[in-house]
Structure formats: structure tokens, C-alpha cells
């Protein structure tokens, strides 16, 4: 089992002054592709980490659609986020194999060390616990996705230590 040692950083941010130009650039790069909306949204996720409301409006202009049309697509697929995610996203797999393979222990570790339930985020936006229907690495149960990286055979102790390191509390 390996939990990612480096935290996930995005190359762009909506705070940058040239964010709008970058969104337009992404859209124009996919101009020739039919049904490009989903591909554009994937690029926004990769570069910015989420799809902001203003980015939706800009993309709509470029793709000759309305902002609600884009918002409808962005909120249909689970991969896309329309809100800024927490700094560290801990995604727990709830699939059947993980249920019988140690999911409950991992949930207890997270809830105890962070003081939040699954589906919540800490007040300082540093951590969020999310859950997935299935991460697709069932033989490696219990599975998690930690900061966009799959981690299989996660042990309670390793997860506890990983969180403690980022909380800055002694283990």
C-alpha cells in the first residue's frame, strides 16, 4: 500500500489574472471536436481543480452554448466539481469488496482523527472525506483515492499516520 507523499497541486488557479484567457484557450483547442463539452470540462478539472461559475460562463460563450447547458453537464458526471475542493480529499470506496475488506476501520480512523463524518469537510478547508460507489480496484480492498491517486490495501495505521503528518500532530 502506498499513500501519495506529495499533495496535489494544480497548475492554474482562478485567482490568476489570466485565468479567463486560459479557459478560452482550452475551448479553442477543442473547437474542431464534436461534442467537446465533456473534454473541455475534463481540461478545466485538470488545470484548475474545479469548474467555477465564471469559467462556465466563459466556456459557454466559446462553445456557443448557454451556461446552464454546461452546468447541467458538469453536475451530471461525478468526476466534475463545481465547488473548490478541500486541500486534501480522502475518498473512501464503499464497494462490496471493500465493505467486507476493511472499509469500516478506515472510516473510523478518518472520522476520529478529523472530527468530521463522511461527506463533510473541516472548517479550515484542509480535509474532506468523500465516498465513491466503487473505485474499481476491488482485489486491493480496502481501497481509497487520496488526493486523486488510487491507494489499495490501505491499513488503518498507515492512514492514521498519513493524516497525522498533515495535521501536524505527533503520532
Amino acid at each position: 500500500m502506498t499513500l501519495p507523499s506529495h499533495d496535489h497541486h494544480k497548475p492554474y488557479s482562478y485567482e490568476q489574472s489570466d485565468w479567463e484567457a486560459h479557459v478560452r484557450e482550452i475551448c479553442r483547442g477543442l473547437e474542431q471536436t464534436d461534442g467537446a463539452v465533456i473534454l473541455v470540462l475534463h481540461r478545466l478539472m485538470e488545470d484548475f481543480g474545479y469548474i467555477s461559475e465564471r469559467a462556465t460562463i466563459v466556456a459557454a460563450e466559446e462553445l456557443h452554448l448557454t451556461a446552464p447547458q454546461i452546468f447541467a453537464v458538469a453536475t451530471f458526471y461525478h468526476e466534475f466539481r463545481v465547488e473548490k475542493p478541500a486541500e486534501n480529499v480522502l475518498m473512501l470506496c464503499r464497494g462490496p469488496a471493500c465493505r467486507v475488506g476493511g472499509m469500516v476501520g478506515l472510516r473510523h480512523v478518518m472520522e476520529a482523527s478529523l472530527g468530521i463524518d463522511v461527506g463533510e469537510r473541516t472548517e479550515d478547508d484542509k480535509f474532506a472525506i468523500e465516498s465513491s460507489g466503487c473505485l474499481g480496484i476491488c482485489p486491493h480492498a480496502p481501497a481509497m483515492m487520496v488526493n486523486h491517486r488510487l491507494a489499495g490495501r490501505v491499513s488503518d495505521a498507515a492512514l492514521e499516520q498519513w493524516i497525522a503528518e498533515r495535521l501536524g500532530t505527533p503520532v
Binding site: R99, C134, G136, I137, C138, P139, H140, L150
Partner: protein, 575 residues
């Protein structure tokens, strides 16, 4: 033989010769979505590091997933002229030992090795054909998975790759290709099991243009991961199958639709397509014939519903992946309102073998109605969970045996096949042949081939709470009975798990099932209540214990456990 194909084969031959006269050690590291999660990338980096510091000249290559997930990370070592020995569980901290005792000394370690590729053992290491995991498998579509570099075209061609495409293009008419597929009795491997030959026939009959072809690899269903592993392990086989399909139905444009969360499959398929384009296997005048075809990759966004055929077409058009009414078949009016032929990844992977070896070769395996081999993704309470390929009709008991038997010797309780769409298989049916018709007889489904083995520590109420909740979250919300029905089912089962079950709950469950089945548009809504209703028939006592005795016989539901957890931390599913 066309000049282009001849040149390609000649290049492949050169590659093979260079390969056999190679005088340095070859190290193959299995990197796939599954092995990555247990540190295979770190293992690879560590191996390269060690080789660099020791100044050892070795060929290090990346291969796909062999299906032996239980032993990942997997590393193969082949000394010049020697056998290819497979080492399992090579975590980064064990790399140094492996390099020291195997690579530096030029020997092998029978105490660490899993098996030798092929049919001959070596210094006490068993051969693949004697290994308990492999000896009962028949690998046709997964033949090169984990053995070949997935992006080495010459390796694929040297092993006979693209000969089926060449054969179809130069010696067969499209009608003959369809007839061969029809005779083979190949059925769709994505879940619905529609006869592939018949689908192609009706797609060919459509005259409107342009005509589209889709390779469906969304795979948003839980507990199944075969399609992404095929993309990662042997993308050329799928591309070859897609091209033969395109030739047979005279398609104009193809899409390969990969699920958005399959982060390793997407770049590998894209790269494989580029390689094919450079080699003249894609684009204009493929292999020097009149046949031209272009394939583009489309990426999903992580939606179970978008894997449904009509929903996927909406998704490719850049809209919400919602199923649409099928008043007209998609082979007449599909994506962009044009004729569309859609097949699953595994279906396409079967096609080259059928064309090369003939329909009789394919249909020699299997049962009366289900032919060929099938990939099963086995997970849960077994000792060797992974991906196996066996003939259709292999008994469930045999599947468990291949996967090393029940974990910790615990008793088998149930098997949940077909993702979230089938009733469970009870212990009394352990000998059921895993084929379409035999599973249907006992009220279960084969689906796409996922198999979750549950032991006595699993609670059937909890598992079904998960299954209906999954359907609730994935429902596209178009049909009221699906949107509200899955909500009600989740409510009922969550209440039961929390010790708040009521006496009318089971009747409500049994009533909702047939209602949803008859009033929803797509297969996903129709199947949503099936697991729970099926489990209720088999495990009624367990459901009743939750309601009447406030007791979880398996001891899984925390709210019903003796050691109570604080209020609010009950087993309700997070939203």
C-alpha cells in the same frame, strides 16, 4: 499479402530476432490501474535506480495487468536465453533483495518466484500451466495482457496481431465477416448479451450516412474492471476488433469511449491509436487497401448511467448521459441521429480471434447458448482475487477454487454477480455453470462478469443497502419510479441497518420491485430493485432479524452491534 502488411511483418520479424539475440537481462514490470495503487510505479522507479547505481545494463519494460492482482506488484525477470520467471509482491522495499540475488547473480530464487511463463518449470519453480491460478484458465483475449508491452506494436504483430484485419480486408467480404461472427454465436460482453452478428447485420443494412461505431468502455458499474485492464494491457487487440467491425458494417467514423476515471487507460489507448496511425493501420487506405477509417477517443465523466447504450450516445454528443426511448433501434438512429453500432470492449477483443481461427474455434468452448471464453473479475472473500478468463459455463465453485478458495477458510455465504443488477447466488447453487442461460434459470445474471464472493461476515441487508444506494446516486432521474423508487428502497434498507425497520418494510420492498421493473425506461432502472428482491427471497430470515429482533446476524451493522456507536455514526449511507 499487401505490401504494407508485408513490410510491417518484416519489421516485426526483425524485432523478434533482435529480441532473441538480446544479451542483457529483461525486466518487465506490470503497471496498470490496479498495480499502481499498491506501489508498482515506486517499484519501477526503485528498479531503475538500483540498476543505475550498480551500472547494470538491462532492458526494463512496462507491461499490463496479468490478472493476478493478489500478487501485485508483479515483476518478471528473464536472463538472456533463459526462462521468464514471475515474481510477485515485489514492493519497493523488496527490490534491492531481488536485484542482488537474481539480477546480479544471474540466477533465480525458487523461494520468491511465483511461476515460469510457459509450460516448463525451472529449478523447482512451477510452470504457469501448473500454477493453481492459471492451470484451469483459457486465455484467448487476455493472452498478451501482462506479457507484452501494451504499446509495442511490433511485439503484437510478431505474435500474429493485425493478421485478422489483413485477412478480413484482403480475403473476405463484409458479409462474410458478419457471417463468421454470426456463426461463432458471440454475444455482447457488456451485460445485455445481444448476439453480436445480428447487431452488425442490422447496422450494415442501414443506408443513412455517416455511420458510426462505438467501443463502449465506460464501465461505471461497481466491482468490474475488465475493460480498463484490457485497454491498459492490450489496446491493439481492441483497435483491431474495432477496425474489423468497421469494415464489416461499412462505418465512417469510430469512437472509443473510455470511462473518465480510468486515468491510465485513456493515455494508453490514445497513444496506441497514434502508433496505429503512424503504421498505416488507421486513417486512409489501411494496410494499402481501399478501406479507410478514423477512430477518436471520447472520455466519460464517471457515470454509471452513461454506460447504457443510448445514454452513451447523448454523452458523446456532449450532453448529460441520460438514456433515451428506443423507439427506433440505434443501428438505424443512434449518435447524432445517424446509424450507430455499439459493442463492448471485451466483445471487440474477441473478434480478431474469431476471424483468424474461425467461428468453430471460438464456439468449441462454452455451453449450448453461451460460447467462447469470458473474463471474470473476482473479488471479495477469496485468497487470490483478480481477473480470470475461463470458458463460459465454468461452475462458480471452480472460479472460487482458481482464486485460491475462501479467505481464512470462512464459509461461503453468497455471490453477488453482475454488478448491481442481479440477485445473489446462494450457497445451494455453488455448482451453477457461469453462463447466460444457466444463471438466468436460477434468477441471477451473468452481466459483464463481475463476481463478488461474500463470506459469513457480510450482511446481506447492508450489501443491498449499498446496491440500492448506488442506483439512487447514479439514477439519471428521468423516470419517476427510478428516481423515487431507488430513494424509497434506500430509505427502507438504511432504516433496517439502523435498527429502525418496520413490519411493513418487506412488503413494500417486494411491491416496489415489480413496479420499478415495469415502469422504467432503461435496463438500469429495471434492474435496480432486482438484487434486493432476490436477496429477500433467499435471506428472508436475515432481513426479518434486522426488523423484528433489531439484530444483525452477521454482526456487521454497527447500529445493531452490541457495542453501540454514538448516535449519528450509524450505518446510513453518506450523501
Amino acid at each position: 499479402m499487401t505490401a504494407q502488411y508485408e513490410a510491417l511483418v518484416a519489421r516485426a520479424k526483425d524485432f523478434e530476432e533482435a529480441e532473441s539475440s538480446r544479451n542483457r537481462v529483461r525486466i518487465s514490470v506490470g503497471i496498470s490501474g490496479c498495480s499502481e495503487s499498491v506501489g508498482a510505479e515506486e517499484t519501477l522507479a526503485k528498479i531503475q535506480d538500483e540498476l543505475r547505481t550498480r551500472q547494470i545494463d538491462a532492458l526494463v519494460e512496462v507491461v499490463g495487468c496479468r490478472g493476478m492482482c493478489w500478487a501485485e506488484p508483479v515483476v518478471d525477470v528473464q536472463h538472456p536465453g533463459g526462462p521468464r520467471v514471475v515474481y510477485g509482491n515485489v514492493t519497493p522495499d523488496r527490490v534491492r533483495e531481488l536485484i542482488q540475488s537474481v539480477i546480479v547473480k544471474g540466477t533465480h530464487r525458487p523461494d520468491l518466484a511465483e511461476f515460469v511463463v510457459g509450460s516448463n518449470g525451472y529449478v523447482g519453480i512451477p510452470a504457469e500451466t501448473e500454477h493453481p491460478f492459471f492451470k484451469d484458465q483459457t486465455r484467448a483475449i487476455m493472452a498478451y495482457c501482462g506479457l507484452h508491452d501494451p504499446l509495442n506494436l511490433l511485439q503484437y504483430v510478431a505474435a500474429g496481431g493485425f493478421s485478422a484485419l489483413h485477412k478480413a480486408l484482403t480475403t473476405m467480404t463484409p458479409e462474410e465477416v458478419i457471417a463468421e461472427v454470426k456463426t461463432s454465436s458471440l454475444t455482447g460482453r457488456g451485460g445485455a448479451a445481444f448476439p453480436t452478428g445480428r447487431k452488425w447485420e442490422s447496422a450494415r443494412a442501414s443506408t443513412a450516412r455517416p455511420k458510426y461505431l462505438i467501443d463502449n468502455g465506460e464501465e461505471g458499474e461497481p466491482t468490474i474492471y475488465k475493460d480498463r485492464r484490457l485497454y491498459e494491457g492490450d489496446p491493439f487487440r481492441i483497435i483491431e476488433g474495432v477496425l474489423i467491425n468497421a469494415y464489416a458494417i461499412v462505418a465512417d467514423k469510430g469512437y472509443i469511449y473510455v470511462g473518465g476515471e480510468h486515468h491510465l487507460a485513456i493515455p494508453r489507448v490514445m497513444r496506441a491509436l497514434e502508433i496505429c496511425r503512424e503504421a498505416g493501420l488507421l486513417g486512409k487506405n489501411i494496410l494499402g487497401t481501399d478501406f479507410s477509417f478514423e477512430i477518436q477517443v471520447r472520455v466519460g465523466g464517471g457515470s454509471y448511467a452513461a454506460g447504457e447504450s443510448s445514454a452513451m450516445m447523448s454523452s458523446i454528443e456532449g450532453r448529460r448521459g441520460m438514456p433515451r426511448p428506443k423507439l427506433v433501434r440505434s443501428t438505424e438512429r443512434g449518435v447524432w441521429a445517424k446509424p450507430t453500432c455499439m459493442n463492448n470492449v471485451e466483445t471487440h477483443a474477441n473478434v480478431p480471434g474469431i476471424i483468424t481461427n474461425g467461428a468453430a474455434w471460438f464456439s468449441r468452448l462454452g455451453t449450448d447458448k453461451s460460447k467462447g471464453t469470458k473474463i471474470f473479475a473476482v473479488s471479495g472473500a477469496v485468497n487470490r482475487p483478480g481477473m480470470i478468463e475461463v470458458p463460459m459455463g465454468t461452475p462458480l465453485r471452480k472460479l472460487i477454487e482458481i482464486c485460491g478458495g475462501m479467505k481464512d477458510g470462512r464459509p461461503f455465504k453468497a455471490c453477488q454477480p453482475a454488478g448491481v443488477s442481479s440477485a445473489p447466488i446462494a450457497a445451494a447453487n455453488l455448482d451453477v455453470p457461469m453462463a447466460l442461460e444457466t444463471l438466468e434459470n436460477i434468477g441471477a445474471l451473468l452481466g459483464s462478469g463481475s463476481v463478488v464472493i461474500l463470506d459469513d461476515s457480510a450482511c446481506m441487508v447492508d450489501i443491498n443497502n449499498y446496491l440500492v444506494n448506488f442506483n439512487e446516486l447514479e439514477s439519471c432521474s428521468r423516470c419517476v419510479t427510478c428516481r423515487v423508487g431507488t430513494m424509497r428502497l434506500t430509505d427502507i434498507l438504511t432504516r433496517m441497518c439502523n435498527g429502525q425497520g418496520r413490519s411493513g418494510d418487506l412488503q413494500a420492498l417486494a411491491w416496489l420491485g415489480p413496479l420499478m421493473e415495469s415502469t422504467t425506461l432503461c435496463g438500469l432502472g429495471q434492474a435496480a430493485p432486482v438484487p434486493a428482491v432476490g436477496a429477500l427471497n433467499i435471506f428472508r430470515e436475515e432481513f426479518e432479524a434486522h426488523i423484528h429482533d433489531k439484530r444483525c446476524p452477521a454482526g456487521f451493522c454497527e447500529a445493531l452491534a452490541e457495542k453501540r456507536v454514538p448516535v449519528g455514526a450509524g450505518y446510513g449511507e453518506p450523501r
